[in-house]
Each structure stands twice: as structure tokens, then as C-alpha cells.
């Protein structure tokens, strides 16, 4: 008997004619690792919330959800809370109390556990997760990854049978997200805990999953083990589906004409075996050594020996940092968590004044330029687009901004229409900015920033939490801006996106820029900090960092098609 059995589930939100979930049938065995993926808005979060009674959304529901053979509503309140645990997407807001130990005890206190039982479980859990050292720390001193681990531990203290994870790694950097997934994997393998997880970055979860479910528009489109799902997703010949597959799978499919389900690689290790044999006819690419975009001579932004720290007694965040950004360049700055990437961006925007060193904009001292002019010429997009919204509708947000800028920017009405078109905001105009999806919010904020026709656009982690479909359209928008001559600087953790799109890459480490190079040189020399594709084919094609590069090297006809769909 399956642990969870979802039968003919249909669901519609109130006042909505469209069903969010359509005829869902899933059965999950005890100890299975299930990954539900699909574009944002496909209903995966709604589906996973149906399994957690306490947070189930209001709406019209038909069909049955059986848990251990009984309807899930038959569980007592205590059982429902304890046996089905859930970790949410946002590390910041799902934490309730002030210190780690309070937060850990929170769930058990809610169910009235006695002190001895609590002490025993917390003791055990802390050694499993290595939390002893931070037990009495205030929660706000933890990093995002640590917060997510804390939330997981707090839920696990109730000893759940099923663990529901709603995009748990989408707000984390790659290292922290790998660490989190390893922890979940361990729970699944060592304690045989059933895991159901939604995710749109399949790269890391694919090797861990027993069952992958691909959803689109509220329906299950593909379901099965990773290999067979890859097979059916590849067989669908649908470009929008393609982008969800891990790059090794995509690479395999381009290189191999006839796809065999059993041969499909799910991780780098398997890919090395299958793919390396396929690369026969190679033409070593040493090609794009020079940065991809044209670079003229005078830098538009120049930092010389910049030092910055937040408080007198704190260590330097930026330490004698020098950097030149040229007009028309698309520069990506990478670096670990807390390396000071966001700080660097704010210094470049003239929002923070460095203690030492100078920042020049078009050869002029940044701090001598009038505030107003500076902010018009340098667009800055913070990580959280919510910070920009002050009005009730998307329309107002854009038009009011345009009204303010009317006297300073020429032809703003034309620009306005163009951006609404470029960022696909047309259908959203009457909506409240807070009701948009993460990607849509990002685009709206960007449109309002771009209305002043900035020469430079500074982006702070613009692809965080975006699904592959959105990334493609986001990339399209960036391309148009670059063509128009806008200089773009972005800081990011998203190695795959940067490798495929950036004109040049820089690494921020120890407060300074240690290297700045073309993406090919930048990534191909790294061992760990590089794309999955490069890790797979580095022996044969050391300079290949994207699927596109590999195919180019192999001179396959599918190249042209691959180029048009890969992001």
C-alpha cells in the first residue's frame, strides 16, 4: 500500500474559472524521494500544500488524498502536524523565534511534549546537523543556508514520516543549496524518510530523486524515474520542457541521435562515461577568448583602490579593490556568500561612500556628480524587487514613475510602451505588484529602473529563484538592452546563467577582484567553480563550458536548434 495516494485530484482557487490542479494521480511509496518540477505557476506549490492540512488553501477541491490508506482528513490534529513536516522556500520568514534553541523547541512545545523528551530529541538532532555551536546564537546572525537547515531541524524534531519541501534551495547560493540537499538525501537514505520536494533547478536534485514529476498548467505531463522522465521529456520535442532538464541530459540528447532511456546520464559521473565516447569529431575551441561584447577603450565605471567597511571596528568588506567596466560590457561578478558582492554593487552605484579609494563614472569622480543625475544615469536593481513598489497596481507603478521623469528623459512615452512590451507587462497592468510571481516582480522593478535610460544597469542576483522559462525571456530582455549600448554589471551565484550569457566574468574574493576574464577562460580553469558541462567534458574539450560550446565543437546540425532553446 502506498504511503500517500492522490486520486483524481482537482482544485480551483475561489473566484477562479481556471483549475489550478487537473486530474492529479500520484502514489508515493514510503521512503521515496519525489521531485515535482515545472514552470512557476504550474501548480506545484498548490499541490504540495494539499498534503499539509494546516496550510491547505481555500478553494474547490474534488478527488481524494489517502495517507496510509485513509483520507488525510481522518488524521488527528496532532498526527497531522507531527507526521507531515514542511519546510518553505523563504529562509528568513519561516523562522518564528529569536534564538536557535527557541526555534528548535518551537514545534515540540506546540504539541506539548514534556521536557525530557524534548531535551533528548534536541540533543540527538543537534549532533546530526552539527548545530551545537550555534545553539544560543540569535537567528539573525545565521546565513541563509544555516537558517534553512535550522527550519529543517525544527520540523524533523517532530519525527515526521513525510517531509514536504517547497523550493527549499531557491534562495540559497550553490554551495549552501548543495549542502541542504545532501542533508535531505541523508535523511532519505539513512532514515528512509519519504521526501516530496518542489524545485525548478533539477541540476542538483536529479541524481537524488527516485521519482520526478513534471507539471505544466496544473497537469502532470511526465512522471517516472529520472531516466524515463528525461526520455519522455526529450521525446516531447518541446523547447520549453527542454530547459528544465539538467545540462548533462541536454548535452547527451544533442550528441546522440537515437536516445536510449537506460543510457541517459543523470549526473556528471554517469555523463562522463556516456558522453565522452560520443565526442569523436572534435574541433578544439579556443575561440571566444576575447570578451563576447565589443569593448571600447575608456572605462565607464572605474574603481581604484577602494576600501569599504560598515563600521569602524569591523573588517574591510572591500579591500583595495580596483575594477574597470567598459561601455557596452556585460560583466558578471561571482563570489561566495558574504564576499561583499552586493556591497560592491552599491559602491558602484554611488549609494555607499568608500572610506578610501575613488570611484569614477565616465572619468568623473562619482561623488562629485549630483545625486539626482547619478541615480538617473546608473540604474540599480536590488535583490528584492519588493523594495521598489509603492503603488497599488503595476500600471500606476510604471506611469507614476514616468511622470516624475518626464522633464528629464526624452520621449518617455515611447520608452514606456516599449518596456511594457519588452518585459511582457501588458497583461499584468491591473494587478497588484505584490501578487506577481518572483520573475514578474523582477521585471517590473527593472522596467521602472530603466525608465530613466541609465547608461549602466547594476543587477543584484537577478536570476535568484527564477524558473528556466523566465530566465530565457529575461535573457532576451538583457540582450536587447546590450544591443542598445547599455552596460550591465550583475552579481550572481548562477554559474550556468553567467557561463552562457555574460560577456566577461570577475571573481570577488577576500575583498578584491582576483580575476577578470572571458567566461570561457574564467570557468575552464576552475575545478569546482564551473559548470556541470565543463566538469563532464573537460578532458576532451577543456574550453567548453555550455552545451552550446560542446555542440559547436562536435559540428552537429542540431547546433542551430540547440542554440535557439538553451539558456
Amino acid at each position: 500500500m502506498a504511503l500517500i495516494d492522490i486520486q483524481n485530484l482537482n482544485f480551483a482557487y475561489p473566484h477562479s474559472t481556471e483549475k489550478t490542479l487537473k486530474d492529479i494521480n500520484i502514489s508515493v511509496e514510503a521512503g521515496e524521494f519525489v521531485v515535482i518540477c515545472g514552470p512557476s505557476g504550474c501548480g506545484k506549490t498548490t499541490l504540495i500544500s494539499q498534503l499539509k492540512r494546516e496550510i491547505r488553501p481555500e478553494g474547490e477541491l474534488s478527488g481524494r488524498i489517502l495517507y496510509r490508506g485513509l483520507p488525510i482528513d481522518c488524521l488527528s490534529k496532532q498526527e497531522a502536524a507531527a507526521e507531515i513536516g514542511m519546510v518553505f522556500q523563504d529562509p528568513e520568514n519561516q523562522i518564528v523565534l529569536d534564538t536557535v534553541i527557541h526555534e528548535l523547541a518551537f514545534a515540540m512545545e506546540n504539541l506539548g511534549y514534556d521536557i525530557l523528551a524534548m531535551k533528548k530529541r534536541i540533543g540527538e538532532m543537534c549532533s546530526f546537523f552539527g548545530l551545537e555551536k550555534m545553539l544560543h546564537k540569535p537567528v539573525n546572525e545565521l546565513s541563509g543556508g544555516e537558517k534553512q537547515i535550522l527550519s529543517l531541524a525544527s520540523v524533523l524534531l517532530l519525527q515526521p514520516k513525510v517531509l514536504l519541501l517547497d523550493e527549499p534551495t531557491s534562495q540559497l547560493d550553490p554551495i549552501a543549496s548543495k549542502e541542504f540537499l545532501q542533508m535531505v538525501h541523508r535523511l532519505n537514505r539513512e532514515l528512509s524518510m519519504t521526501v516530496i520536494m518542489t524545485e525548478h533547478r533539477l541540476e542538483d536534485v536529479f541524481p537524488l530523486a527516485d521519482k520526478v514529476i513534471f507539471m505544466q498548467e496544473g497537469e502532470i505531463k511526465h512522471m517516472g524515474d529520472p531516466k524515463s522522465v528525461s526520455f519522455s521529456m526529450l521525446a516531447s520535442k518541446d523547447a520549453s520542457v527542454y530547459n528544465y532538464l539538467p545540462s548533462v541530459v541536454r548535452m547527451y540528447s544533442y550528441l546522440k541521435g537515437e536516445i536510449e532511456s537506460s543510457e541517459i546520464p543523470v549526473d556528471v559521473r554517469e555523463a562522463k562515461k556516456t558522453i565522452c565516447d560520443l565526442i569523436v569529431e572534435t574541433q578544439l575551441i579556443n575561440g571566444s577568448d576575447s570578451p563576447r561584447s565589443k569593448v571600447s577603450e575608456k572605462p565607464i565605471i572605474k574603481l581604484t583602490e577602494v576600501c569599504f567597511r560598515y563600521e569602524k571596528d569591523q573588517p574591510d568588506v572591500l579591500n583595495r579593490l580596483s575594477l574597470e567596466v567598459f561601455p557596452g560590457e556585460f560583466l558578471a561578478i561571482l563570489g561566495g556568500n558574504g564576499a561583499g558582492k552586493s556591497t560592491l554593487l552599491q559602491v558602484m552605484a554611488g549609494l555607499k561612500k568608500p572610506q578610501r579609494g575613488k570611484v569614477y563614472f565616465k572619468g568623473q569622480d562619482m561623488l562629485r556628480i549630483k545625486d539626482e543625475d547619478r541615480y538617473l544615469q546608473i540604474g540599480y536593481l536590488a535583490q528584492n524587487p519588493m523594495l521598489y513598489f509603492i503603488h497599488d497596481t503595476v500600471e500606476e507603478e510604471i506611469y507614476r514613475r514616468a511622470e516624475i521623469l518626464k522633464d528629464k528623459v526624452d520621449n518617455i512615452d515611447e520608452l514606456l510602451e516599449e518596456y511594457i512590451d519588452l518585459f511582457g507587462l501588458g497583461p499584468l497592468l491591473k494587478r497588484h505588484p505584490y501578487d506577481l510571481s518572483g520573475g514578474e516582480k523582477q521585471k517590473l522593478a527593472m522596467a521602472t529602473v530603466l525608465l530613466s535610460r541609465p547608461k549602466v544597469l547594476l543587477l543584484d542576483e537577478p536570476t535568484k529563484g527564477l524558473d528556466p522559462t523566465f530566465k530565457v525571456s529575461f535573457k532576451g530582455a538583457l540582450d536587447k538592452l546590450i544591443k542598445r549600448g547599455t552596460t550591465i554589471v550583475m552579481v550572481s551565484h548562477d554559474i550556468e546563467f553567467v557561463a552562457a550569457n555574460a560577456g566577461s566574468c570577475a571573481l570577488l574574493f577576500n575583498g578584491e577582484i582576483t580575476t577578470k576574464d572571458s567566461p570561457v577562460n574564467f570557468f575552464s580553469e576552475n575545478y569546482f567553480y564551473t559548470t556541470a558541462v565543463n566538469r563532464t567534458v573537460r578532458e576532451k574539450l577543456p574550453k567548453a563550458i555550455t552545451v552550446e560550446d560542446v555542440i559547436k565543437a562536435c559540428k552537429r546540425e542540431s547546433y542551430i536548434w540547440a542554440r535557439s532553446v538553451s539558456c
Binding site: A81, E92, D98, F106, M108, N110, M118, D371, L387
Partner: protein
């Protein structure tokens, strides 16, 4: 950090500080107040080497001197006139009373510094969560949100600065207007995020049963009971002596001379017992590491 006096159960510790504050405010005996003040300064030095005390020492000295000096100029009660200042009599009694007031106030303030080291927020929560569980829970949630909201408002301020909404420039009215705008964003955004917090609380069974249990539990061991008994008995003893006028010291209307008679000695010994309790624990801690 649960060492020395802080290793004792929070209830007797809490009681000790409450008792001390009451004593320092009722017993206006210069010798008692002097020893009480000394004991608290010493306690602070034994607990963290006086680091926290030093941080605000300037303020305490200023406040103490201000009170000690202001009293004789404001109050003209007392028989023994020392001199006249602008036709107003400055009396010995008022001077002594001012000094006593200074010592009383400083004892209370300095004991609060040590109190904060001993009764951490955790222990405070423990003490009051049984009496006011909901309030205690709310306090813990609020404590989490103070730094979160502060960080959010800073983030908003930086971003809104690029839009010309700046609270550090412009006319007074303009600044208030801009500040309001930032506040509006902060509130809407925080309310939005609070929904997630609420979901997370429900998902972990908040509200499933009426009486939540509490992880924080300090058991009264035998040692704690002994300390508890010692604190209560020495406090009652001291108050009783004071009430019975043993070791009585009169300031107004006329200062009685300070003599070291039997009664005063009994009174001082009783005071030493009470004042020495935390020092003993800190001393034992130091001895263990010699």
C-alpha cells in the same frame, strides 16, 4: 554563560536582585549603602572584569554627583547649617541625605548591570512564561523582529534614495514625507512576509493544543533551595532589624552621630550576610580556577 552566581536557579537570583533593590531604597543608612554599592561594583568586576560597568561608568558618576550636589541646594531641611548660599541655608543633613541618595541610586543601577548578566532573556522568559505564557511568547517573537525590521528599513532607504526619496536631505517636511513613504513600504512588505511566518507556525502545529509546553526548565536543586532559603532569611532578618530600629540611623531633622555600638555591629553583620551571597559564588568560581 552560566557560571558563578548565574549557575544558581533563576528564581532565587531574581529574588536576590529584587530584594537588593528594595533594601537599597528603604534603608538609608550610609554605611549599609556604602557596603551595598561596594559589593555591587565588586560583583560586576568578578563577573566580567567590569567591562560592562566601565562602558557606562561615566554616566553613572555624572548622575551620582549631580544628585549628591543638587540635594543640598534644593532641600533646606535639617538643623546643622554649614553655610549660606545665596541666602539659602546649606545643611549637613541635606548633604548626607544627598550622598545616601546617590549611593542608593548607584546601587540600584549597578546591580541592574549585573542582573542583566545573570538573568538572561532566556531565564526571564522561563520565570514569566508560566505566569504569562502568551505575553512571553509574543516577547520572543518581537525580539526576533526588531533586527529584521531594522535591516529591512535600511534596505528600503538605500533603494528609495535612488528614487529621490531620501530622509537625510531636504526640508523638514519633505523628510517627514519621505520617511512616511519608507514606513509604508516597510509595513506593507512586512505584512506580506508575515503571512509566510503564520503559515510556518501553523505547519508546525501552533495552536493545536491549548497549553504549549516550555523547553526551558531549570530545576531547583538542593543547592538552589539552600541559596533560596539563605536569601529569604537574611533579607527578612535585615528588614526586621531595620524595622526594630536596631542599627537605626537618623538623618532628618538632626543627624545622629555614627557610633559603632552593639546594635550597629549586629546590623552590619546582617547586611554583610545578604550582600556577600553572590560574591561567595563568584569567589568560589575564581578559586576553582586558581
Amino acid at each position: 554563560m552560566n557560571r558563578g552566581f548565574a549557575s544558581v536557579h533563576p528564581a532565587p537570583c531574581f529574588l536576590y536582585y529584587v530584594g537588593l533593590v528594595i533594601l537599597a531604597m528603604t534603608i538609608y543608612h550610609p554605611l549599609f549603602l556604602f557596603f551595598a554599592l561596594c559589593s555591587q561594583v565588586l560583583l560586576n568586576f568578578m563577573q566580567d572584569g567590569g567591562r560592562r560597568l566601565k562602558a557606562s561608568a561615566r554616566f553613572y558618576i555624572f548622575l551620582g554627583l549631580f544628585i549628591a550636589l543638587a540635594n543640598p541646594f534644593v532641600s533646606h531641611r535639617g538643623q546643622t547649617v554649614l553655610f549660606y548660599f545665596l541666602d539659602n541655608p546649606i545643611t549637613l543633613e541635606a548633604v548626607v541625605y544627598g550622598i545616601a541618595m546617590m549611593m542608593s541610586l548607584l546601587t540600584v543601577l549597578i546591580s541592574l548591570v549585573s542582573y542583566n548578566m545573570v538573568i538572561t532573556p532566556d531565564k526571564f522568559m522561563f520565570l514569566f512564561s508560566s505566569a504569562f505564557p502568551k505575553t512571553a511568547f509574543l516577547c520572543m517573537m518581537a525580539m526576533r523582529f526588531v533586527p529584521v525590521l531594522r535591516r529591512r528599513s535600511q534596505e528600503i532607504a538605500v533603494v528609495q534614495k535612488t528614487r529621490g526619496t531620501d530622509i537625510s536631505t531636504g526640508t523638514f517636511m519633505q523628510r517627514i514625507k519621505n520617511g512616511m513613504q519608507i514606513l509604508i513600504i516597510l509595513v506593507t512588505w512586512s505584512l506580506e512576509e508575515a503571512i509566510i511566518t503564520a503559515r510556518s507556525m501553523r505547519a508546525r502545529g501552533y495552536g493545536v493544543i491549548k497549553n504549549r509546553s516550555s523547553y526551558f526548565d531549570y530545576k531547583m536543586t538542593r543547592r538552589d533551595w539552600i541559596v533560596f532559603f539563605l536569601i529569604v532569611s537574611s533579607w527578612v532578618n535585615l528588614m526586621f532589624l531595620w524595622y526594630m530600629d536596631i542599627g537605626h540611623f537618623q538623618i532628618y531633622p538632626e543627624l545622629t552621630p555614627l557610633t559603632l555600638d552593639v546594635n550597629t555591629v549586629i546590623f552590619l553583620v546582617a547586611s554583610f550576610v545578604y550582600l556577600a551571597i553572590p560574591l561567595l559564588f563568584e569567589g568560589a568560581e575564581k578559586l576553582a580556577w586558581l
